[in-house]
């Protein structure tokens, strides 16, 4: 479980996150939705300690994420996996080396054990026989899958995905959604996804928070979002459907 308590963040005097409090539950898919530029990425980057918030606390199962204490921050990060919007694969390394990297850095596994684990992770994302390929040779959907495989290489407790479907076609988007759902259920992790894809919301969302101009404008469940009692959220949802 991750808890946010009164998070605020400004860039050059412009308030991007305004007093956000939220709870992200373990074993659930927690969605952060909202239009572009409303602060979803800044919120997620703050949660993993890439951005230092101005005010508020971030708690990982009651461990405080302390920006000043790098050793503790590193401890928490050992339990975090993150899928970036750009996939953020190491371009100079093969698929196998990408997934192997965290194992090389943080475990004492032998080369064989590492390769076993790499193949297990690649199998979990339905990506076999791509071990020797380089990121430049992969499609967007494959890159995301390698990104997920790398994120789960170590035994993580928290999975962050920033717009996992951006740049993907609708069919591939569903595949990625299903994968994230499967991984969340199999490993009982706390998953947080930034998205503006309403299909994702209705397919796999458990808990949802809606961010509007840096504020938490609404939160609720998948059932509740079908009849939103909120104008901005209603507009956001209506804009997603053509039919």
């Amino acid at each position: 479980m991750i808890e946010l308590k009164n998070i605020s963040k400004s860039f050059q005097g412009k308030e991007v996150l305004k007093n956000i409090s939220a709870v992200f539950e373990q074993g659930k898919i927690n969605l952060v939705i909202g239009a572009s530029g409303h602060g979803k990425s800044v919120l997620m980057r703050s949660m993993v300690g890439l951005i230092k918030v101005d005010n508020g606390d971030i708690l990982y199962d009651n461990r405080v994420l302390d920006f000043e204490n790098y050793d503790e921050l590193k401890e928490i990060r050992r339990d975090i996996g993150m899928l970036f919007q750009s996939s953020a694969l190491f371009n100079s390394a093969s698929v196998e080396e990408n997934v192997e990297f965290p194992l090389k850095m943080f475990t004492k596994m032998s080369k064989e054990e590492r390769l076993d684990r790499v193949n297990f992770c690649l199998k979990s994302v339905n990506l076999e026989n791509a071990n020797k390929k380089f990121p430049a040779e992969l499609s967007g959907g494959m890159k995301k899958r390698v990104g997920i495989a790398r994120a789960i290489a170590l035994d993580i407790k928290y999975l962050f995905c920033d717009e996992p479907n951006s740049g993907l076609d609708p069919i591939t988007s569903r595949v990625i959604d299903e994968l994230i759902l499967e991984i969340t259920n199999n490993f009982k992790i706390t998953t947080i996804i930034n998205t503006h894809d309403m299909k994702t919301v209705l397919d796999i969302g458990d808990n949802i928070i809606f961010i509007y101009k840096g504020e938490k404008w609404w939160d609720g469940t998948k059932q509740q979002i079908k009849n939103p009692d909120n104008k901005e959220l209603n507009d956001f949802i209506n804009a997603s459907f053509v039919l």
Binding site: G49, L89, N91, M105, R150
Partner: protein
């Protein structure tokens, strides 16, 4: 199961990889620049000293001394600032804009030292090696050019070079090379690491890395001369 890091092994491998990249990667340009530099210095020195009062070996002395003391370390390093500096800045800068550095950071890796340190160590070690090669090849270029143009014989050149050779000159040259190696790799890593934006900004970081490294090389050249000579 996932306890202690295997970092030292990984780190040593990265340092070696950078040494190969810095060293072998820069060898062709260093070879070309050094040979021509020695050749041209010899011919121009001869042109300026062309009076019967000055013995021929003096040309060897002048060329050799200026090569060891200034031309080999400084010119080579300025060339390397362009070659290695732009490479490092664009490599790290590209990692920054691709969010690769963020990905490393979220894994719990101290990215500035993980990315920068192997390059800096490799630079401090390999630039002196390249400068030694440069000294050797410049002298060779000078000898060959002197012989071919009939300005002075190889024996006269070597005799002149030996006349005023001091070990300290060579040591001083290597101290310079070591300093420049540090400047080039650290300045370029810094500019790459703090790239913000996109591909255009990576190019800008790369240019900044070369310009700032070059200026700092010249500045420290002056300071070292003041301090140590």
């Amino acid at each position: 199961m996932f306890s202690k890091p295997e970092k030292t092994g990984v780190f040593i491998k990265r340092v070696f990889a950078e040494m190969v990249s810095v060293g072998i990667g820069s060898l062709p340009i260093v070879i070309i620049v050094s040979i021509f530099q020695g050749a041209v210095t010899t011919i121009q020195t001869a042109y300026q000293l062309i009076t019967p009062l000055i013995p021929k070996p003096t040309i060897g002395t002048v060329v050799s001394d200026s090569t060891i003391l200034e031309l080999a370390p400084t010119i080579t390093s300025l060339v390397l600032a362009g070659k290695i500096g732009s490479h490092i800045a664009s490599e790290i800068g590209t990692m920054r804009i691709n969010e690769e550095i963020d990905a490393l950071e979220v894994m719990g890796i101290n990215t500035s030292s993980f990315l920068g340190l192997p390059k800096i160590i490799a630079g401090m070690f390999m630039v002196p090696v390249l400068v030694i090669i440069s000294i050797f090849l410049s002298e060779l270029g000078g000898i060959v050019a002197g012989q071919l143009s009939g300005v002075l014989t190889a024996d006269q050149f070597i005799q002149g070079a030996r006349m005023t050779f001091k070990l300290f000159t060579l040591q001083f040259s290597l101290i310079k090379a070591f300093t420049y190696g540090f400047i080039i790799t650290s300045v370029s890593s810094f500019h790459g690491y703090y790239t913000q934006g996109g591909a255009l900004e990576v190019g800008e970081s790369s240019t900044k890395a070369v310009v700032y490294s070059s200026v700092l090389i010249l500045l420290s050249d002056y300071l070292l001369a003041e301090l140590l000579l």
